[in-house]
Amino acid sequence: MNPADVIATLTLQAGFNSAVVVAGTACLGVAAGAIGGFMLLRKRALVSDALSHATLPGIALAFLIATGLGLEGRSLPVLLTGALVSGLAGVLAIQAITRHTRLPEDAAIGAVLSVFFGVGVVLLSHIQTLATGNQAGLKTFILGQTAAMNQGEALALGALALAALAAAGLLFKEFRLLCFDPDFAAGQGWPTRRIDLALMGLTTLVTVIGLQTVGLILIVALLIVPAAAARFWTERLWVMVLVAAALGGASGWIGASLSALVPRLPAGAVIVLVAGALFLVSFLAAPARGVVATALRQARLRLAYAEQAALAAHEAGHPLDASPAIMAWLRLRGLAADGVLTERGRAAASAADRNRRLWERFLIRYPTLIPGQANWGIDPIDRVLPADMVRDLETGPAGMAHREIAG
């Protein structure tokens, strides 16, 4: 593929059909991302997986029943109705197993998911043996057939995205309460079952409508992966939901474009791979919770502790005796040269020593206080505690009123 084609596809300039597919898939991604954010926090990620797998027997049964009644078995509304019914039956089965037995939910999910999917596969192979079955093309539901999307379906996906965003906005407070603390919600009088049902219903809607596009095996990825990626970027729920919707939309957009360019590349898988790549970037690079940022913060903290310990030991009259790495760090900071402290280093050592003493006293005198975001012992105490409190620590034991300090 040449770059011009890539750009043309991504910007919806590569012909009407391709534009329809790309836009429709992006809408599906937006809907799945927004709803998936709540599902993730409700700890229902796997339930949506079971839900999607449980749609297969419904699709097959709907085909068989419709054909048996002399109707057109391949009609999309018929198949999706079947998918909806058996998907919901799967979810209800999980709920019944968890409620009425002592099995944990993951066992219930595993059992329901595989049994329903197994039934679906058996029914599908039976359909293959029928005279009418060969053209049924039901297998496209398993892995999806993005390229076959027509204008009407793309519009339906657009409506789905709008509905998902509207529901997430309108029921934001209700979903937040349900996901965080359902018992408190019930105690306040909220009908938690119904709110749960609304969230589950939206998930079902996204799943069933997305079946044709991404396929029932991978649709769960669109629900969960963008949401999980979004969690790395923020500590605020509404931001997380919007970021999840954006990442889901981007996955759909880029994934559908790529698969339009490369013949025989299954779109569903490409979309999920794009989502996976976005997840990887978030996992590594997100400033708040990403692993690189976290590791850097920890390394910096460890260095600061080591530096302070070395300086304070020197101040206490010990010779400068630190590991080569710490010595290199001190040289880098201009605090040491040729194995001894520089003038700046000596000043820093005296400051570090004082800081350490004050922190120690603070710890002894106010063991229950948590000074905000401060790094215990190494942040300059004058910048963490109010001046009167520092003075008080400096002047000795006369305690001041017990109080809380914010960072």
Partner: protein, 279 residues
């Protein structure tokens, strides 16, 4: 109509007991967790629910709130069924029951106490946010309003839960172990809030695990071990005999704090030795 429900007027409920439980039984399996509990809460004074592990203390509270299904029995709050009294009820669940890594700030969580007043599909307005902030202030956490809840200490999280209950502006509070695993500063903050609530005429019913402090903190006690062993004023109810009935042989000799005996002077005592220790 699902929600919200209007609060009954003060006059309508003034003469009724805050909580009236009759024959409350909860059973999941063969052995009931709570068996035919009768209890009428007094109009004034802080109430502790005390009993050994597995005695059904949390279940009692949850059954009162309708969070676990009761096999039989009735619960009335200020003379009416719980379902019609939701607006009068505040709740502090156990801290471990939620995921504190949830993307929410302390203020977000406290504002949840206002959700029922706000009603369906409407955002949390400025006035409710200010009310939530004031509740955070009452538990000494105003400076932590914007902090992600996972970054708070256990005691601070407990105070956030207490502030959320305050934000409910309830008349009867059910609290599940508000003193469990908290630091001294939190313990002082919590007991101060409870006393303020009591002075303001609110009812506070606490599951309490620490026998040593029952007599210091509470006026009434409900001794529970699957059934109600005894209930009444701490001074007359909490004694060696009732504790033996409640805990069986599981108490050591030092664990029997009777009202008036071995009383610590006041909740501030925890800090005094530490502050002296600095000298």
């Amino acid at each position: 109509m699902l929600f919200p429900h209007s609060a009954p007027s003060i006059a309508e409920t003034a003469a009724t007991p805050p909580l009236e439980v009759r024959g409350l039984t909860v059973a999941y399996n063969r052995k009931p967790v709570l068996w035919s509990a009768d209890y009428t809460a007094p109009a004034r004074g802080l109430i502790a629910i005390v009993g050994p592990n597995g005695a059904g203390k949390s279940t009692f509270i949850k059954a009162c709130l309708g969070l676990v299904p009761a096999v039989s029995g009735t619960v009335k709050v200020h003379g009416g069924p719980v379902a019609k009294r939701r607006a009068l009820i505040g709740y502090v669940p156990q801290r471990e029951t939620v995921d504190w890594d949830f993307p929410a700030s302390a203020l977000d969580v406290v504002a949840m106490g206002r959700y029922a007043m706000i009603g369906w599909c409407r955002p949390v307005g400025r006035a409710h946010k200010e009310a939530a902030r004031a509740c955070l202030d009452r538990v000494g956490m105003a400076d932590f309003a914007d902090r992600q809840i996972g970054q708070l200490s256990g005691g601070q999280q407990q105070r956030v839960f207490l502030a959320r209950a305050l934000a409910q502006e309830a008349r009867v509070y059910f609290m599940d172990e508000p003193f469990a695993g908290v630091d001294a500063a939190t313990e002082r903050a919590v007991i101060q809030v409870l006393r303020d609530l009591d002075h303001a005429g609110r009812t506070v019913i606490c599951v309490h695990h620490d026998l040593q402090t029952v007599a210091d903190y509470f006026d009434h006690v409900l001794l529970l071990n699957t059934r109600v062993v005894a209930a009444g004023p701490v001074a007359t109810t909490l004694n060696a005999e009732t504790l033996r009935q409640t805990y069986g042989g599981r108490l050591g000799p030092g664990d029997v704090p009777m009202a008036g005996r071995d009383r610590a002077p006041d909740p501030g005592r925890d800090l005094a030795p530490l502050e002296r220790g600095v000298a």
